[in-house]
Assembly symmetry: C2
Homo-oligomer: 455 residues x 2
Amino acid sequence: MPVVKSIFEPKAVALVGSSRIREKVGMTSPHMFANVAYNMTKFFRGETYVVDLEGEKGVKTIDKVPHTPELAVVVLPPRNAIEQVEKGAERGIEAFVLLTGGFKNVQRKQLSDLTREYGIRILGPNTIMGVVNTANGLNTTFERDVMPPRGSISVVSQSGGVGACLLDWACHYGVGVSKFAFMGDKIDVDDIDLLRYFEKDPNTKVICFYVEGVEKGREFIEVAKEVVKTKPILALKGGVTREAAKRALSHTASVAGSDVVFDAAFKKAGIIRVEDVEQLLDAAVALSKQPPLKGDNIAIVSNVGGPAILAADAVVRDGLKLATLSEKTRLRIEKQFPGVEAVNPVDLIADARADRYSFVLDAVLSDSNVDGVMVINMLKSTFFEPEDALAVVETAAKHGDKPVVDVPAGGEDFALVQKVLRNSSMPVYNLPEKAAKALRVLRLYGRVKEKGVEV
Amino acid sequence: MPVVKSIFEPKAVALVGSSRIREKVGMTSPHMFANVAYNMTKFFRGETYVVDLEGEKGVKTIDKVPHTPELAVVVLPPRNAIEQVEKGAERGIEAFVLLTGGFKNVQRKQLSDLTREYGIRILGPNTIMGVVNTANGLNTTFERDVMPPRGSISVVSQSGGVGACLLDWACHYGVGVSKFAFMGDKIDVDDIDLLRYFEKDPNTKVICFYVEGVEKGREFIEVAKEVVKTKPILALKGGVTREAAKRALSHTASVAGSDVVFDAAFKKAGIIRVEDVEQLLDAAVALSKQPPLKGDNIAIVSNVGGPAILAADAVVRDGLKLATLSEKTRLRIEKQFPGVEAVNPVDLIADARADRYSFVLDAVLSDSNVDGVMVINMLKSTFFEPEDALAVVETAAKHGDKPVVDVPAGGEDFALVQKVLRNSSMPVYNLPEKAAKALRVLRLYGRVKEKGVEV
């Protein structure tokens, strides 16, 4: 078994910290230690051995844990951490996640030496949030009760802050997550290790990266080229502009490199770029729940006029096309609903309920001129009820090779419909412009699948 | 008093409908009538006379209301509506809002003729949601309890659907609204009338438009040129692409026209364009709460590294610059907090609380190299507490001529901080990219104020 697997799938974990040590620079604190212990105890379905260097009783050093766990999670300042890693390695522990930071170069080198000496693998140090695996409940974050719902999206973040933001977003909006990994100082386990692990992981369908720089760029691209054949890779890149890149250098010691070079390399590998955290998770949800788009032609089916026009603008702006419905489809719809003018975007009129949505969506998806559909179902100013949205899910499922996305445009409208569709196979967006961006990514991945690379 | 004012500021309103008539096309229904009556009774702080054509008792025709109101709101099919408008005009009512639709051309002409004959003004027909005025509680919408909080943003929507989406968004996210107007078929009161009214309205600070087409384009631009000297105008334009424009033609009979022409005209008038409903309200909130940006130089003050780098990317991408902090500012900050490296973006480190934010934000805002600030205060992965954000509001208020926006990046983080800052003068965004777009609009309006036009 490759050791990286132990980082996500240990049967037992040693959590090593101190109920006394508090330091400013690296963030080690009794509070953080206690919170990680809380999350591990609450969520992890394996064994957790808590090792407290200053505990009044119990195990006070890693080599004294009753059984040898596959993974140790360490919340300690550099000197203590290195000592515990070495003792743990001696004891036979094969993987380590180092949450806290403040390591000097010489200390990072000591850790690297240990990986070589003992064949252990280290994630971090300075990962801050460490790892999350929703399948076994592993949760090394120090934010109490921050646990996303189970799903098939895996996320790798170079930055603790961006990772925390992604995690918070996923929890708040119910984005189905498989695994989270925060890389931190990346002295050993890196993007390539994680990519290779996720490629084989049966619980991962979509892989998301936040990167500032990639050290072994060429190798990363080569591995990615293989991975995208079976699983899409999305990337949000920080340090795109010259000004921000300078800052990234001091933030994670990443040479962000020219954005043009990055962009070309990503394209070559079939990695799909997005522009912010919301777009990253919006696209990931679409890819995890719907098939890729096999063509450019989008139909819009809506119970309101104006938002459908904004949707049409957005679809075209994002490089897709408005499908021209066939005569047969048009007649089929207009015969059934004489008030509806069946040109794309199709306006179902404000009194449309589940039955009209089912019929029209089915007709539109049966049309060979249509490759995918954006459904808009607002509640405000219409007769639509949140539960009617289930008809969209059912009808879309009958046409499993064409993607459908759903837009209950607005604030409360989105929240109400999303509550109904949260655990369904339907991606839900609060504005048509966001749904169009998700469709664009489904099309880009469709092209990756067709051609291998070069989206 | 110009009659348009009566549409928003009546002392008394006649609500005219039927508890029996139900029609498919124009949306007239007893349910809709009852809901409007519910909202009017609940929120309107003037007198509401309910006129039910089929009521068992009570007033059954508009000319029999006990006193003459300034405004009548009509929820009736075309034939009945026209009859009631004429009787109301005879009785001396000067303004009418016609909610329901389904009017034929000849019926629209009948309404136009009545406006000329009696000097009355009509908003609609087919406005669907009609008008909202948070100052006097006027609310003619048929969605129960949809009432945004009081504020200084006024919104005009050509489309009922986009208007409903904007209203829903404003209610859900607590966007402070002054007035909403849905124009519908626009047979009389139009964009220009509303623009002129909002120019003089002391409760309106920012004017938002959703437009598909403008009939009297030249006049609109001329009026807008004057208005923007004192109040910013934001526009979301539907039917931008050729494909969507065709659809807009059948939706609101608008000749959307070439987008290039529109764009040039908007620029000439100093109208600021945005790309979706969220950007429209995000920008409006910034303009209603903060001063315009007088220069391009933005400082970023953050308790997390990665999101600050994404913020820097976004600021530069949106045409602004990263400010170079003066040596004096740098020394002032680094002397107080030796762990903080005071280059822009300034990383306050994860343990920053209110006091550090206050000190650094004050130092940065005092720097003449800085024109505005984006503050990032995440909760997850940091020690920041929601109430600490009040320090940002207080410090920003001391430097009233430079705008500050706040970003508790994420899902729950945003919700928690927004709850604290909702009624403050601080605009709050859930991602740095959205805050950068709002800053861009503050800069564009700053340029409009400097030069008059041509942003």
